[in-house]
Amino acid sequence: MRQIQSKRVALLGLAGAIGLAAGPAFAQGAVSAEYQWLTFTVFAAIICLTMYVTFVAAKRVKSASDFYTAGGGISGLQNGWAIAGDYLSAASFLGIAGLISQYGYDGFMYSVGWLMAYITVLLLIAEPCRNIGKYTLADILAYRNDPRKTRIVGALSVITVSTFYLTAQMVGGGVLVKTLVGIDYEVSVIAVGVLMLGYVLFGGMVATTWVQIIKAILLVTASVVLVMLVWTPYGFSLPAFLTDVVGDSKVQARVAALLGDASTNMTAAELGQRFLEPGLYFKAPIDQISLGLALVFGTAGLPHILMRFFTVPTAQQARKSVVWAMAIIGGFYVLTLFLGFGAARFVGPAEIAAVDAGGNMAAPLLAQHLGGGADSFLGNFMLAFVSAVAFATIVAVVAGLVLAASSALAHDLYVGVFRAGETVTPQEQVKAARVATVIVGAMSIMIGIAAKGQNVAVLVGLAFAVAASANFPCVLLTLYWKRCNTAGIMAGMLIGTLSAVGLTLVSPNLTYPIAATEAAQKVLAGEPAKRAAIALASASSDPAVVAKAGKDAAALDKVIDKARADIEKHAGQRTSFMGLEKPLIALKNPGIISIPLGFLSVLLFSLLFRDRRAEAMWNEVYARQNTGILVSKSSSH
């Protein structure tokens, strides 16, 4: 009883600390100062709800199984929503709507791979993992191999993937919250970290699951409301809506700007239609195919997604949860089609890019517009609501990642390797899990602050590339190939991870000072011509043209300042972080090379170092994963 009370006090203290931290530290964001209280009220309501769930869940966490997998007591439907909540990060919520608003068709095409990835999970991974796994990815690798060695490489890979993904979420989240509400980057990283720690530490997987479910429901609800508002005026006709989008002058101006000289002979109608055709964002097909491979096979190797299949009681429920997750995630991506094109039509691509160059503000600004604009209460309420949902999204995804990383640390490394052969009591296991959570949580806050300004897309790409090149081949082959063994797993994990990371480090994703300086100098060289054009437009008798010239001048000032800053930043440097003057490979995502390398390593080393025991245990693994023998059947109906 005393313990529960102290937990309640700790939770209240947490909420208070965040309120205080957020109080004085906000400046100007997309939400205007007079309406910021709205965002905080909506967000406080979400925190209270999730804290209450955590408080209830905390009483149920008694064993390691409760902490890591909610005791296997989550239903397929609940798990489907939780997977959607775990997967739909701020990057997909705000990022894909933003890409569509800026680049049209290519943005929508980008979303397809994220859904297709679940076919791999459904057909090959979810059910066998449920049947033979316990808490972590390494449990599956260790089943018929040397547990010590495979747990070490498995845990290291899980921690690597989670750290890349976590850093991306922290950095992206910090920037987004700053743009939306104006809270300082560091404050928002600390707030996300502390909140997430509160959920995971006290409520383990039960609380994390419910936080993810609540967030997914909020996200889907907000999107459905926005899409209704966008689509109703067109009588729910897709051609009518898109006709209006392609006929919009803001959209046509954006396409003309993207195409540059190539657009001179195109009519306005052709420019608008071009927004619905491929090629405005993706220039190199090989890059896109490489990214597609990393997505389709990487998702099945993401530790925080795999872990979700241990929370359901049976393979049938695991299957049901993937089908639900696919319905929710796919439905959500179809909605982003309307959010993205709607934002382009009603807010305007240039106006969105003016707030955030990546287009991430498309959905929030659309919400504000649909509610009645920047000066209306409803408009600001909707912006505040969407901003609060974005913040909740980051917290929920980070919670799932921290749980996956700390389970690798506590269950695989501490209990499985460091204390191997000893009896570790359930109390000790839960304690180890909580200590690991605090370590991983504190590290994630520090990394989040240290990584300020890092390229989020590169970090997410890396996480998927390592998951697809190391985790996926190892898990797939140990499940489906008799000869797979310890040597193969170790080689696959190490070579898959190193090749994915290594190829990214020599890819065009890093900053190359010589090329960056040249690009900046080119911008400066083009300045006089642009200034002259603006001066000409300012002298026009049409007030709309003059107003546009004013905006253009302000935008040009920004670009010139950035170019000057770039030149200054790279002065005296000739090489990238890796000591290279230019990238060694043209590939932006290493998947197309590193995934086959990962598979080849497992195959080759398994054949070179034959292990009779791993082969002798094949019948057991294969029979269990297909029949579910030895899985408790208590709640299968």
Binding site: Y105, F108, V112, M116, F282, G292, V323, M617, N619
Partner: protein, 109 residues
């Protein structure tokens, strides 16, 4: 210090059971076939967008073109594969697996 293999069940007998062999054969062909189809269908999208832009640009219904319909069809295919697989698994694979598992349990496994 290896995980103790579970000797309470005769795994070789389970694998040798003709019913298990039937399940294994059916599942293997079905799963890998669906998997190959899904991956191939997915990669038609980036390949088409890169190399068959003229086809993707053909307008079918107002501003809606082949490319947009093809992208939307990816969603239909993903959901279709998911539903098709679960129906087959719910109706057939689960029953076959349960028969084997029940026998093992009955034999005091």
């Amino acid at each position: 210090m290896f995980v103790k293999s579970d000797q309470t069940v005769d795994w070789d007998a389970v694998i040798a059971d003709p019913r298990f062999q039937a399940l294994h054969k059916k599942k293997t062909a079905f799963l890998w076939g669906l998997m190959a189809f899904s991956v191939a269908y997915y990669f038609l999208l980036p390949i088409g967008a890169a190399f068959f832009q003229d086809v993707f640009k053909v307008q079918v219904w107002g501003p809606i073109n082949v490319g947009l319909l093809f992208a939307l069809s990816e969603f239909a295919v993903a959901w279709g594969v998911a539903i098709y697989y679960s129906r087959r698994a719910n109706a057939e694979f689960d029953r076959m697996a349960a028969e084997i598992a029940d026998d093992v349990a009955r034999q005091g496994g």
